[in-house]
């Protein structure tokens, strides 16, 4: 059941808030041993809160949040040994808004350690598994959020996105994710990765679900535009050319569908597209090193190997790298603004490959073997760097695994990018497909 449907059923008293929470808790208990989407389940607290949930657009709707987001009285571990004993003293700004809207937070979701990676394979809490193929990664860093939405453990989740961390798991898990415009959703009470790149956003079944969650956590109206006739869609050919041919071909069918629905397609070139990943790294790595400096000094050996290396790399970059990165960000942004003077949205494959096997750090892409993190950077960093809203929406399947379409909009154009995704979802059923969990499992009954 989608988030919107759940909200309607609770508000019409077809089910009570308590029953909605109980359904989720039962499903989590049955399925999460396979999936490892949750780091912490707030069973008793959630049931108690369901009895006194305030009225609002999410009255009685169970949700879960990535374990870098504070929920008062619950652990915030960031999937790291460094924060293993950390208990949040208050709610993050986004959680406060969820609760005021009536939502019930049932738990904290698995993440790549400190949200600094794209596979959600914490050495301390174990990997989250892709529900479409339990041997494959679910993406990250908001991997638990993608898994929980795809496996219907909860109807709505929150993740965070610094350089793709909402969009990648949404794509790999076959659900919808929104990275909002930078600054629209408060990041107070969220463990930071990068002060100038971090965002908080929803991952859920549909664009409508994401719109409802985004409206609540942004504290503003969010009604996806209806219809896309005449919308000017810029197709980023360079990214289709770089993606795995089968993935590119499948995502192209989604773009063709946008044209059939009335959009006007235009092939576009994005200036400095090849440089955006480097610029993003200059900003992200140096800011992350600053965030973690006190723990690098005192808890260095408590980090996983990959995250420790990333943080130390940021420590060793010269201070000029950060300033150069911020100036180059403006340079990139100016070029992208020119593109958006000709089109309303950009589209590209969200990810160039299918999710790799858990434990595999490399992917094969157009005859080259390269690190997974290098493969994803050109598809995600440019839009993060510009601070623009991006939706990843399901765009079909390749070899039984979901692929995604990225829809990028102008600043504050969440209603546009969600509207494009919603229009596509009304015309297709890719987002409604459920993963084939093991035969005989209660979820398939």
């Amino acid at each position: 059941m989608t988030l919107v449907e759940t909200a309607r059923r609770v508000q019409s008293s077809a089910v009570s808030a308590r029953e909605a929470v109980e359904t989720c808790l039962e499903r989590i208990e049955r399925l999460d041993p396979l999936l490892n989407a949750f780091i912490h389940v707030r069973g008793e607290e959630a049931l108690a809160e369901a009895e006194r949930a305030p009225e609002g657009p999410l009255h009685g709707v169970p949700v879960a949040v990535k374990d870098v987001i504070d929920v008062a009285g619950s652990p915030t571990t960031a999937a790291s040994k460094v924060l293993a004993d950390n208990v949040a003293g208050g709610d993050a700004g986004c959680v406060d808004r969820l609760r005021r809207a009536g939502a019930i937070v049932v738990g904290k979701l698995n993440t790549h350690e400190f949200a600094l990676g794209a596979t959600t394979t914490s050495p301390h809490f174990g990997p989250a598994h892709n529900p479409w193929d339990l041997e494959r990664t679910c993406g990250g860093s908001s991997g638990g959020s993608g898994v929980a939405a795809a496996a219907d453990l909860v109807p709505g989740t929150l993740g965070t996105d610094t350089a793709g961390s909402i969009r990648i798991p949404a794509c790999y898990c076959g659900v919808t994710g929104l990275r909002p415009t930078i600054g629209v959703v408060p990041t107070t009470g969220v463990v930071p990765v990068s002060w100038t790149l971090d965002t908080v956003g929803p991952i859920a079944r549909s664009a409508e679900d994401c719109a409802l969650l985004h409206a609540v956590i942004a504290g503003e109206r969010c009604e996806p535009v209806e219809g896309i006739r005449g919308l000017r869609v810029g197709v980023v050919d360079a990214l289709f050319d770089r993606a795995d041919p089968a993935v590119a071909a499948q995502v192209s069918t989604a773009v063709d569908e946008l044209a059939r629905l009335g959009a006007t397609l235009e092939r576009v070139e994005v200036p400095l597209l090849d440089d955006a990943g480097t610029i993003n790294q200059l900003v992200l790595l140096t800011e992350a090193a600053e965030v973690h400096l006190r723990w690098l000094r005192t808890r260095l050996r408590d980090y996983g190997d990959d995250v420790r290396a990333r943080l130390l790399a940021g420590l060793f970059l010269p201070s000029t790298a950060h300033v150069t990165g911020l100036r180059a960000r403006r340079w990139f942004d100016d070029g992208l603004r020119g593109v958006f003077s000709r089109v309303d949205v950009l589209v590209a494959p969200e990810m160039p490959v299918l999710p790799p096997r858990i434990g595999s750090d490399t992917v094969s892409l157009r005859g080259r073997e390269l690190p997974h993190r290098f493969a994803l950077i050109p598809f995600n960093s440019p839009w993060s760097l510009a601070g623009l809203p991006v939706v990843s929406t399901p765009a079909g399947f390749v070899d039984g695994m979901p692929v995604g379409l990225a829809i990028v909009g102008r600043r504050r154009a969440e209603e546009v990018v969600l509207g494009v995704a919603h229009t596509l979802q009304k015309a297709t059923d890719w987002h409604e497909q459920r993963p084939p969990l093991p035969a005989g499992h209660p979820s398939n009954e």
């Binding site: 480097t278 130390l312 060793f316 340079w331 290098f374």
Partner: protein
């Protein structure tokens, strides 16, 4: 020979000295892994420094 942009990746000994100044104590395996990152990022930084228009404002 001096150049106008950042040099390539530094040596492990240099990294260890910088880390010590920051109060951080990585081992050799950590520093080898860091060099892997820097070997990609530093040439990219040098290239950006070379091409970034001088009039580009800060943020």
């Amino acid at each position: 020979m001096p150049t106008e942009s950042s040099p390539g990746p530094p040596s492990i000994e240099f990294l260890r000295a910088i880390a010590a100044q920051q109060g951080v104590d990585p081992d050799d395996a950590d520093l080898e892994a860091v060099l892997g990152f820097l070997s990609v990022v530093m040439p990219g930084l040098a290239e950006i420094e070379r091409r970034l228009p001088a009039e580009t404002p800060f943020a």
